[in-house]
Amino acid sequence: MSKVRVLVGTKKGAFILSSDGKRERWDVSGPHFAGWEIYHLKGSPVDPNRLYASQSSGWFGQQIQRSKDGGQTWEPAGNKFVYDGVPGTHQWYDGTPHPWEFKRVWHLEPSLSDAETVYAGVEDAALFRSTDGAQTWEELPGLRGHGSGPHWQPGAGGMCLHTVILDPSDPKRMYIAISAAGAFRTDDAGETWRPINHGLHSQHIPDPDAEVGHCVHHVAMHPSRPGVLFMQKHWDVMRSDNAGDLWREVSGNLPTDFGFVIDVHAHEPETVYVVPIKSDSEHFPPDGKLRVYRSRTGGNEWEALTQGLPQKDCYVNVLRDAMAVDSLDQCGVYFGTTGGQVYASADAGDNWAAIVHDLPPVLSVEVQTLP
């Protein structure tokens, strides 16, 4: 029988939640790296027992850990992230130029074809790549160097490159997203990049339709249709049917179109999930009700999924990398909250139950479907 392994990054360590395909009983392992912030951990699609984890601390900086046995044991890898050449400046909160400074790794994206290759999205925003199992890192400088870099500015959470999507049909195509610069695409394996923000409209920037400056919170893609992208922007849920060349809004009947996570059903490329969050300051669910919204029509028409989720007095947030799906026949959906719960649905969102209730605030959730 297949198994699932849920990789949870929290503010005080990593946890690994394991179950068989029924997804009813769970083993909880952790905390790994207790006391450290684990922004993200993810397994290689080529070798599922090869895991990479971003471990950071305000005291002791960035570490990268890797596991060769599915997270039972870990070994430190390389933590030297040095920007290519003279780093230059981006805009600071007050509009003045500010030097690029490495702070942490937000997202690790293992290659689809090589277990030794992994990408790292970092703050201050840049994309790094390792081809030796995370021992050494090199920046892909074409992203910061494409021209608009000096105009990027941080969102409230810092100027982070938080989303890395690899196109399974074209190894030279990647998508990334930066808060608050926007989304970018490369078609030549990271040599050159261009912003893909046409159609985004953000009223909180001087030119609402600017080429860069949009606060993109997360982007999701179904592997069977890599040209179709779904985006949760600071405000607005968006969709592109042409690899980001043009976006259109699909917020439809959502109670609020603010939020952080977005993901796509494993087997239904038009089934999309979001968790609406009230406003850009309160950062909790509307009316104290934790509701996942599902669209089976690729957006615009959304239904609230509430069965098993708290429907009163709930004031948690769900952060941008904290939702994932498994690929079992009955698609499982998972998300973690800043209140330390990790919820799972083994029936595509119809019914939910908490795997764990009391972890530290959850920063990220990834899922591995194992044979």
Binding site: G58, W59, Q63, N79, K80, V82
Partner: protein, 97 residues
């Protein structure tokens, strides 16, 4: 032999039990940290920034009841540290409320 006491998180990271005992001819704060990182490469970047070699803001260096955190790297170590009579302490600053 110089004795170094690491904060708990760095002991875990480096796989260190108890004090670090370094057989080194280091006589300054900077060369002592170089020797420590040579012995435990995983600590590179965790005490000092990789490129600038600046002390990380929430890390402190204490020895012989003195704060050496703000001294330049070529500051001589106290003789009691060089002789091994007293440890060199690397401390995670109390912060966070």
């Amino acid at each position: 032999m110089i004795r170094v006491i690491l904060p708990a998180h760095l002991r875990t990271l480096g796989g260190v039990a108890g004090e670090v005992k370094l057989e080194t001819g280091a006589t300054t704060v900077g060369t002592l940290l170089d020797a420590l990182e040579d012995r435990y490469p995983v600590l590179q970047g965790a005490i000092r920034e990789h490129v600038t070699q600046q002390r990380r803001p929430y890390v402190r260096y204490f020895a012989c009841e003195k704060d050496l955190s703000h001294e330049p790297p070529d500051t001589p170590l106290p003789s009691a540290v060089v002789s091994g009579a007293e440890p060199f302490l690397i401390v995670g600053a109390i912060a966070g409320g």
